[in-house]
Symmetry: C2
Subunit: 143 residues, 2 copies
């Protein structure tokens, strides 16, 4: 349990969200797996610890955490909602070949267009798609 995790716990206490065993494990999983997991992945991995765990609980918990602003919902493409612990500004790069999602640093705040001065911006997302270095080299090997 690193400092980040403690901070999350504290934030939940402030926002009056009770932390059950299941919710704790889900939150713990997200802090330890920054791989932008799907509900399916979370479900498979946590079932080992909590055999009775239900997917509905995972959906409920992620919704609560997202509403509390602790978790970010990533929907680069349909049929594959992924979740991420909210950290500092970064963009997401999805490899079209292997499907892996990479984080990359980007100063999103620097790109507030003046055209949106009359809008209230709550959330900013930068999604790139393409090929990751590993898949690029694989393609070259085949040639």
């Amino acid at each position: 349990m690193d400092a980040t995790f403690e901070n999350l716990m504290q934030e939940l206490k402030i926002k009056n969200i009770s932390l059950s065993h299941q919710r704790l494990k889900i939150l713990e999983y997200l802090t330890q797996n920054h791989c932008h997991p799907t509900v399916e992945q979370i479900f498979i991995d946590l079932q080992k610890d909590i055999p009775t765990l239900s997917k509905t609980t995972i959906y409920n918990t992620l919704r609560i955490l997202a509403e509390a602003g602790l978790v970010k919902v990533i929907t680069i493409e349909d049929k594959e909602t992924r979740y991420d612990i909210v950290t500092e500004n970064h963009g997401h790069f999805k490899c079209e070949s292997c499907g892996t999602i990479f984080d990359f640093p980007i100063d999103i705040d620097s790109l507030i267009p003046e055209d949106l001065s009359t809008f209230k911006i709550n959330d900013k997302n930068v999604y790139f798609k393409g090929l990751c270095p590993r898949c690029l080299s694989n393609i070259n090997d085949i040639k």
Copy 2:
């Protein structure tokens, strides 16, 4: 039929994609409705012209046009895939209250992070969420 539409036709000819009556109407609809429509919206509107039109045809056509690079798939949130004719670089702002998607100009090319120098970037997306001016003023009216 403006110049843009003619250009699209030409591009399709180059890419050897035949233009049936249905495909022509769908493409025409997209060039005339820059509201980022869903398949449902396209279906409802075009049914007036083509009573026998099927949703499968719309899905097929949009997939072909997207693969050809003429149409951009917008997935800001799950369960609501939207489509857009590809134009110059711009970001999308979705109002969390009324659901409208607004375009705003942004120089996406200027924000290529050096960390992605070993990646091949095929597609860049900038999605913002928040409240549009109209919904903001409505909230103020209620107060």
